[in-house]
Every structure is written in C-alpha cells, then in structure tokens.
C-alpha cells in the first residue's frame, strides 16, 4: 500500500511541478494513471515514491510518503530499488551496458544475486515478455522502442512490487505502445501495483483502475475509466488532456487544393551503412503542403528526413526544386530540420541573437518581422534555454525563416507533449504552411497528423506509399497507425 499524506512540495530549482495538499492512498495491485498538463505535478508523485525526491531533486517537502506503512525517507535508495521499479521517458539514457542481456541483469547484479540465479532470471524475463529477438544484442543498434523494452525488462527482472512509469510511451511508435500495454497487463495480472504518469491516455483505458487528474499541483478529480471516457471532448481538451479513444479522432477536413508542384523526388534510393534503407521514392510536393512521415521505430524515417535536407550522403536518384536538380549542398541551403531535441540547434545567449546567429550581415528588419510573426518579440532578450519546449521549436522555425529556408522538416515535434502544447505546435505548422513553406513531419502521433497533415508518407523498408489525410481515407490511416 502506498499512502501520500498531506503532501506539499516545491522544487528548489524549478517553478513548475510542485504539489499542494495531496492525499492519495493506493492499494496493492491497483493500477493508477496520473494525468494532467505539463508541469501539473504528476511526475513529481512518482519521484516522491521512488525516493528521488528529496535525494536527487531537492526541495521543500511537507507531509509523509508511506510504502507499506513505512516512511520512504527512512530507507536508502538501493533498498527502495528492490521493491520499487522505475521506467523513464528517454530510452537513450536509461541503459548502462552495451548489450541487452547484461542490461537486463544490471539490477540483479546490484542486488548481488548469485550468477546462476542471474542467468535464470534473465532467461525467465526474456521468455515472459516475449522479447527473444532482443536477446544478446548491442544496445546502440536498437531502435528507441526496443531500448524501452529492454529498460522495462531490466526492471521486471528485479521483480519489484511497485512499478512506476514516467511517460514511458513518449518515444514509441503505435506497435511498441501496444507491446507496452501487453507488458502492463502481464504485471497487473501478477498483482503488482502500477503507477503511470502519461500524456497518451488511450492505451491505458482498459488497464487503469483509477485515473487521477492533476492541475497546478492539486488533485482535481479521481475517475474510473468508464466515467473518464464519458467526459465530453471540449471539456477534456480544456483539461489539457489527450484523446482517450483514437477511434474517435477523425481527420480534419481541409480543402484539398492541389498546389503547383515545386519539390520533386525522382527514383530516390537511400542507403545507410551500405545497406539499402529506402528504394524508388517518387514524390511531388507544392508550397503549403504538410506531409507526415509515418512508420515503425527504426524504419528509416529520420534517415529519409536527413537525406531530404542534404545531411545524409548516400543517396541516388534526383531531387528537383522548381525543375532544377539539387545536389546535397543546395538542399542543405534550402532546408531546415527542427530536431526532436531542439537544444542541439540553439547556440546563442539570447533569442534575438539566436535569430541572426551565423549570418554575416543580418537583416534587422527581417529578424524583427519574423519574431513578431511567430510571437517571439516579448522573449527577445531571454536566454533560449529558459524557454519552454514549444517556444524553442518556434525559435528554431524563426531561424529557418530568417535564413530563407523553404523546406522544413520537423522530427517528432510532439513527443511527450500535452494537449495544449500539441495544438500550439499544430498552429505553428499551419502558420508556416500558410507562408508557403513545404513541411515534412516525422511523427507517430495520430491526433497531430489529423490536425495538421495534408498527406502521409508511409515508410517501412522498401518503397514508401503516399496517403492523403481525408475522411475518405480514414480507414487506411487508422490501419497505418495500428488503431484497432
């Protein structure tokens, strides 16, 4: 049993994510979904239980956190680790070994289990979770979804009583989310207590026993999944929550105007490390089009995006822009990629200087006009790092416009975003499309695709196929995003 008694907490290093007057009791074997907009405090709850607060994230804590009637504070982290397993959001930084088997054994090694038991437990874990294909693999070669499975397996091998998952689906494709759902069902059947803080809600509706809704650090409602699904859409969106049932999400009908083709790909093939990734891509696109790129984790979406921008070397075939062939260097000048982690592309010490960074003779009038257009003027003197994720994306888009880029690629712009932030990104994309840019978006996010894209390019090894986003094609789209 987990009891949170009169918890009030504020981080000493950040403003958001604090908690106010929280009382919550979780029975053994219960599965609790914690939801709410970004910074509502749902992640903070998981950190209180696994002891990361106050040991790793210092702050001002009042109240008690009890696990099986014992105060969490009284135990060292390694003892908590034996009973409480944690899975986090970022698959890249969750593993510690180079190969999958040692990674699954990692927690057990720390518990000092004898080598014979280590092997047995690792084997049993792989068998139970059905991840035989991941056995004995180099972790650097795995896709994000596969890494996340290994991270889950590593926690499963330790056999904790309580599982804490902090936005585990953020970087996963639809199939990997389905596998995660099955794994959660398995541990639920074993009678484990599960707490999940999550933005994507739809896959948890038949697993969660109770859904706790947070707003500004307070519990604003506790629902059963049945009641929760009855919340009308407009109210749910006001709560900054994502869809609970993707079957109910439909493509937004946009007037499909066939624009004059500007970009043309003719028989483009791409290889990566001497292996062929994509073959015979033929595609035309015109100004104002927004093209989604969908496909499994590791199918070559990002490689395609990089090739399009002229960042990937090994391509054959022709890229034409307005009828003129474009080599790699020319494409590089024409295009800009807004990366999944935008921090990599922000270099300067203020928003304003970021906008003119690297340009020898910046056009001040243009800089100001673009900043005004994208709503960045009030933040002109702020350090880019103090902006929110969505504002950083806006800043990157502003940079691309000032550099005169015509082709924009967004790499998973909505991973780990709540409803509000997702609509803001959608608005940004629409604004850019209205300015006549050609936009490609690598994404797994069906809700986002329905809102923004005019077409979806499905990439899954070999030849890609092109599907328009319209009511008529809804069935094909749902199948593509594995919505059953």
């Amino acid at each position: 049993m987990i009891e949170l008694k009169d918890i009030t907490f504020s981080y000493s290093s950040q403003v958001n994510g604090g908690l106010h007057d929280i009382n919550l009791t979780i029975q053994n074997g219960e599965c609790i979904l914690l939801c709410g907009g970004s910074g509502c405090g749902k992640t903070t709850i998981t950190r209180l239980i696994n002891g990361l607060i106050p040991r790793f994230y210092p702050g001002n804590l009042e109240g008690n956190v009890l696990v099986d009637h014992k105060n969490v504070d009284d135990f060292p982290m390694y003892e908590l680790a034996e009973h409480i397993g944690s899975v986090f959001q970022n698959p890249r930084t969750q593993f510690f070994n180079v190969d999958s088997d040692s990674e699954i054994a990692f927690g057990l090694e720390n518990e000092a289990r004898p080598p014979k038991e280590l092997r047995e437990r690792v084997n049993a874990t792989i068998e139970k979770l059905g991840i035989q294909s991941l056995r004995n693999r180099s972790l650097h070669e795995l896709s994000g979804g596969e890494k996340q499975k290994v991270a889950f397996a590593s926690v499963y091998a330790m056999n904790p009583n309580i599982y804490l998952l902090d936005e585990p689906s953020s970087n996963l494709d639809m199939d990997a989310i389905e596998d995660l759902r099955k794994h959660l069902q398995l541990i639920k059947k074993q009678g484990k207590t599960i707490l999940i803080a999550e933005h994507r809600l739809y896959y948890l509706m038949d697993i969660a026993d109770r859904i706790v809704f947070f707003e500004q650090g307070e519990i604003k409602g506790i629902y059963t999944p049945e009641d929760f699904q009855k919340i009308p859409t407009f109210k749910r969106e006001a709560m900054r929550l994502r869809a609970t049932d993707l079957k109910e999400v439909h493509p937004e009908i946009s007037e499909v105007v066939q624009p004059v083709p500007l970009l043309k790909l003719r028989d483009v093939s791409i290889s990566y490390k001497k292996k062929s990734v994509l073959k015979n891509i033929n595609l035309t696109a015109g100004p104002g089009e927004v093209i989604g790129i969908a496909g499994h984790n590791g199918a070559g979406k990002t490689t395609f995006a990089r090739a399009l921008c002229g960042l990937h070397k090994h391509t054959t075939g022709e890229f034409l822009w307005g009828g003129q062939p474009q080599d790699r260097k020319k494409r590089l000048r024409l295009s800009y990629m807004v990366m999944q982690d935008v921090n990599y592309e922000l270099f300067a010490d203020s928003v304003k200087s970021e906008c003119s960074f690297g340009i020898r003779n910046p056009d001040t009038a243009l800089v100001e006009a673009v900043m005004e257009k994208l709503g960045l003027t009030p933040y002109g003197d702020k350090h880019p790092n103090t902006l929110s994720g969505g504002q950083k994306q806006r800043l990157a888009a502003a940079v691309s416009m000032i550099c005169g880029k015509e082709l924009l690629v967004f790499d998973e712009p909505t991973s780990g975003l709540d409803y509000d932030s997702m609509t803001q990104v959608a608005d940004l994309v629409k604004e850019l499309a209205a300015l006549g840019k050609i936009i490609f978006i690598v994404t797994h996010d069906y809700e986002f695709v329905c809102r923004t894209c005019t077409r979806v390019l499905h990439i899954d090894h070999g030849e890609p196929c092109d599907i328009p986003v319209s009511v008529a094609e809804e069935k094909t789209l749902k199948k593509l995003f594995s919505i059953r």
Partner: protein, 239 residues
Amino acid sequence: MSSKKVRSGLWIDPRTKIVLLLLCVLTAAMAPSLFYEILLVCLVSVFGLSCGKIRYALIGMIVYMIFYFLTLATMQLHGSVQVMLVAFFGLVHKVYPCGFLSGIILTTTKTGEFLSAMNRSHISKKIVVPIAVMLRHMPTIREDWRFIKDAMKMRDVSPSLKNFLKYPGMTIECIYVPLMMAASKTADELTIASVTRGIENPKPRTSFIQVRFGISDLIVFLCFLAMFLAGQFCKGVFL
C-alpha cells in the same frame, strides 16, 4: 552464454587495463630515445588491434608517425624556433602513448565489467559509481556530436578545421553550448536510472559476465613490462 556476438577481439580484465596504463605512463616518462617512443606507440597500436579497435589503432599510429617526422624535421632547424618546437613536440611524445592507450581502454571497457572488477578490488562505491557513469557517458557524447554537426551544417557553420581557424569563437560556441546542455541532462538521467536500480547497494556485486584474469591478461602485462624494463636497462639498443 557469454556475449560473443557483441564482443570482438581480445578480452582484458579492467584491472589489468589500469595496470597497463600506469606502466605506460612510467614507460613514456622515462623513455630513453625517440626511436624507443615509436616502439612503445607500436606496442599500444598492436594492443588496440588485438582488442578489435582496428580503425582507431591504425589512425593512432599514422597520426603519431606524422608527429615523428615533424620532430625529425624540426631537428634540422636552428635558433629559438627550434627550441620552442622541440619543447612542444617533446611534450607530445610524452603524452601521446598514454592518451592513445586510454582511448583504447575507454572504448573497450563495458560499464558492467568495470563495476564488477572494481568491486572485486574493494574500491569504494563513492569513487566507482561516478567513473562508471562517465564511462557510460562517452558513447552518448558521440551521438550528441552527430546531432550538433547536423545543426551546424544547417546554419551554414561548417564543423570543419578550416572554418574553425577562420571563426574560432563562433565554432567553439556552436559545439560547446549544446554539448554542455546535453551532457548535464544526460548525466542526470543516467545517474537516476542507475540509482533507481540499486547501483549504490553495498553488497558485493555479482556479474552476469564473468570477470576473471586469464592467460591473455598475463601475456599483455608481460609485453608492457618487458617494454618498460628494456627501456630502463638496455638503453644502448635504442639510441
């Protein structure tokens, strides 16, 4: 059951590697001649090859050869320029073998092996855990670098040597700022992931991969020891 698919080349115990590094530092510091230095770098390179780091070992060797011939060329010069350059190259020759060997050691040591080996030697977790996080952090920096290179290219700041010499300030800023931002976040997340899986447990850690001294450890150790002793007692041979 051992991870053959992942591992290639010779496997050396992390403890042996630390001893090798110490020996290498001593050998390089007390090297009697330039010719001897080149033999030492050859030995390190052969060690790298046998550990499966073929590309790294060859590049390391070639770069050293360049330094070697540059040093020979400066010997022909006169005056204060020569003094300056000889002092500079002297330092390079002392540091190079150790840096080269450290590179091989860092890239061939798995975090799990390192933890287990240190545990066997009863070294405090307070020292071992941060080093382990650092070890694990290395490949992540390489990934970060790839993203940053892309970002720079799109901003028309080429991450090349030429550009670096032309606009040193801007190029450094381009690499340094995002790399530091990414590094601090990664280090935090790695630490959290390890701590919540009990890395601080004081019990003697067991290991999935058996860490044990083998015949190859002995052979490699003897090679480096022989190199060191030869440098000390048979100086005449290398002059």
